[in-house]
């Protein structure tokens, strides 16, 4: 298979395989544990390469994954001592493990097809060169098949334990109380995470794999009402990042893995900005709307006060409103316009008056509801005003 489709196949399967367990990592708030695992497996990978050499066997994936699980156990054991708060145990253990790998690789004549830089970012182009041979025929890059198997395992695992993962991730105590003891499932899940990370190591390296695990899932989280849609969106974003990232790298003549991870970051920023309801733009919009509706209430309240109490015409004119409430002229005009549109206030020849609708609006904001509304009913708002005119 030629190089470009090989690279794209590896990129897409790697991204998709990471995106599935990434959803549960994000929901469990364990993104940094993924970072830890991605570094902890490195010495295992190095040792496996030293022992097994170029001989490609499944042990090259499973062996190092054991170290990832070891990290998870070690961190939990350290947490149980209650000597440290927060994630200090993680920060101590994973660099220590990682450094073992760095020391072995950095020795000259180690004879390993790895350098310190590919460790961090991987080398997808190199991975694409190693084609799988079946009966002497090259059937595609080996890394693609490895990641395809891992992707299928992840999908199968998630489908099989979907209900159980949903429950134990959300409410572990309740899960345990109904007999879904979560620790076995938890370690099984962490095993799949470890294997996924080891598999992805060759293509994207120890640092960028975290981006593939976390960013698509985090973007999907902002858009999802249900777990199913979060999983689908996460995979979709990962695949998009892989394809766009590849072509970006191709035209920029840059590292594919870097461009892929960059794309996951860009997609995340876009969802963060534009996600409906939870996104920043929509939050700003909601806040602006609240500001207007609050100002509207304030205006109606002000008018009620002056219509019911001391009637000062100057306070109820457009000019007076602006001066009394100390609004910027443009903002005051806007609030008055919106208030008129909503029918909370009305304009008569000597200024603005509250309507019954306006009084109701204000009574909803008051603790003692009857006050404003009663006044409105007894003494009338606009109605009273019209009455006076008749």
């Amino acid at each position: 298979m030629s190089l470009i489709p090989s690279i794209i196949l590896i990129a897409v399967t790697t991204a998709a395989a990471c995106a599935v367990p990434g959803v549960f990592l994000v929901l469990r708030r364990m993104s940094m544990v993924a970072e830890g695992i991605s570094h902890a497996v490195f010495p295992g990978l190095v040792l496996a390469l030293l022992i097994l050499g170029a001989f490609r066997s499944p042990f090259l994936v499973v062996g190092p994954a054991v170290l990832g699980l070891f990290l998870v156990f070690a961190v939990q054991a350290m947490n149980r001592t209650r000597l440290f708060a927060g994630d200090a145990p993680l920060g101590v253990i994973f660099p220590a493990l990682f450094s073992i790998g760095v020391i072995i690789v950095s020795r000259r004549y180690s004879g390993l097809p790895l350098s310190e830089s590919t460790v961090l970012t991987g080398d997808i182009n190199y991975a694409a060169l190693t084609q799988l041979q079946i009966n002497g025929m090259a059937v595609g890059p080996r890394a693609f098949y490895v990641m395809l198997v891992i992707l299928l395992v992840n999908i199968l695992f998630t489908a099989l334990f979907f209900k159980e993962l949903k429950l134990t991730t959300f409410d572990p105590d309740h899960a345990a109380s109904v007999g879904f003891g979560s620790s076995r499932l938890y370690y099984l899940f962490m095993t799949t995470v470890s294997i996924t990370i080891v598999g992805a190591f060759e293509a994207v390296g120890a640092v960028l794999v975290v981006g593939l695990l976390v960013a698509p899932a985090a973007s999907a989280f902002l858009l999802s009402k249900r777990l199913e849609s979060m999983l689908l969106l996460s995979v979709l974003f990962a695949v998009l990042s892989a394809i766009i990232g590849f072509w970006a790298a191709y035209y920029l003549n840059a590292a594919t893995s870097g461009a892929m991870a960059m794309m996951t970051g860009i997609i995340f920023l876009l969802t963060l900005a534009f996600a409906p309801r939870r996104g920043l733009v929509s939050k700003l919009h909601i806040r602006a709307r609240r500001r207007i509706s609050f100002a509207e209430q304030l205006l109606v309240m002000h008018l009620i006060h002056h219509v019911d109490g001391e009637r000062v015409t100057s306070a109820c004119s457009r000019e007076g409103v602006r001066r009394h409430i100390r609004w910027e002229p443009a903002f005051a005009e806007k609030v008055i316009r919106v208030g008129l549109e909503h029918g909370y206030i009305a304009e008569v020849e000597d200024g603005l008056v509250p309507t019954m609708g306006g009084r109701q609006l204000c009574s909803e904001a008051l603790l003692y509801k009857d006050d404003v509304c009663e006044c409105g009913i007894v003494r009338g708002g606009l109605e009273k005003h019209e009455y006076e005119q008749q």
Binding site: K166, F170, D171, S177, V178, G179, K225
Partner: protein, 273 residues
């Protein structure tokens, strides 16, 4: 069924012996829980009859939540023995429902209210099997019971605190348990939700079920509970609410915490030192 009828007796008599013909709904002996050898609960003995709404009160740090979690095997206990209707908890899991504190879960989690309620049925559904329409229907009924039928498809982050508490309750109701443990079901809910929840708990009692409620508001203790457990790392007093909810016991439970005590004494009303 006559097991369910022998309620309203005071269970203050300790050492009533091991469960025999009429085992109490909840039987606890010598339960001690320690974190790193620092005891949190000391030698708890409890006998609670069935078909009561039992309050669990005590100051902060008294171990109220820990007591529930220890009974449900969620925290390991150093010593002790727990029996539900005369048999070990492990065998009785199916008939025990649990409502954790509302703050114990992440409400931004991407599921709908109906899915959350359906979680109460997972045990019945069993491993690997999906939640079918029949179970969803059952969950919908429970949502209706707590007045939340209109919110089935709403994402749980878009519910108010009181609504979240109601669907937590609905999740427990679908379990159709005989005994319920509820950790502060009234925390952060408005008065109407509190009344609604209390009405449901009373209905459960009418059906012969036993309900334990961790509670903070001493003013409503008398109105809400027929059985009371007063806790401060050990059981200060336990028994029929009318008998144990006294100023003397409150003083022993809350110690020197005066402001609380004053309110408590107000709550008892009438009893003068």
């Amino acid at each position: 069924m006559d097991i369910l009828k022998n309620h309203n007796q005071s269970t203050n008599k300790q050492g009533a012996g091991s469960p025999t013909a009429n085992p109490p709904a909840l039987f606890v002996r010598d339960l001690t829980v320690a974190y790193n050898r620092k005891p949190v609960l000391w030698d708890i003995d409890l006998d609670v009859p069935s078909a009561v709404v039992a309050g669990i009160v005590g100051p902060n740090g008294a171990g109220k939540s820990t007591l529930i979690k220890a009974i449900l095997d969620l925290v390991p206990h150093t010593s002790g023995n727990v029996e539900i209707f005369g048999r070990p908890y492990k065998e009785q899991r199916l008939i025990v429902g649990y409502v954790p504190q509302r703050e114990s879960v992440d409400w931004t989690y991407p599921i709908t209210a109906l899915e959350l309620v359906a979680m109460g049925l997972y045990r019945k559904i069993g491993w690997f099997k999906p939640v079918t329409a029949r179970y969803r229907e059952r969950a919908r009924e429970a949502m209706d019971q707590v007045g939340m039928a209109d919110f089935a498809d709403r994402q749980i982050s878009r519910l108010s605190g009181g609504q979240q508490q109601r669907i937590f309750l609905a999740r427990a109701l679908v379990q159709d348990a005989s005994m319920y443990f509820m950790d502060e079901p009234f925390a952060g809910v408005d008065a109407s939700t509190e009344e609604a929840i209390m009405a449901i708990l009373q209905e459960l009692r009418e059906q012969g079920k036993t309900v334990f409620v961790v509670h903070h508001d001493l003013e409503t203790v008398r109105r809400y509970f027929d059985h009371l457990i007063m806790l401060n790392m050990r059981v200060v007093a336990a028994g029929a609410c009318s008998e144990v909810f006294t100023e003397e016991n409150l003083r022993r439970t809350y110690g020197g915490r005066l402001t609380l005590l004053d309110r408590a004494v107000d709550a008892i009303g009438g009893i003068k030192p």
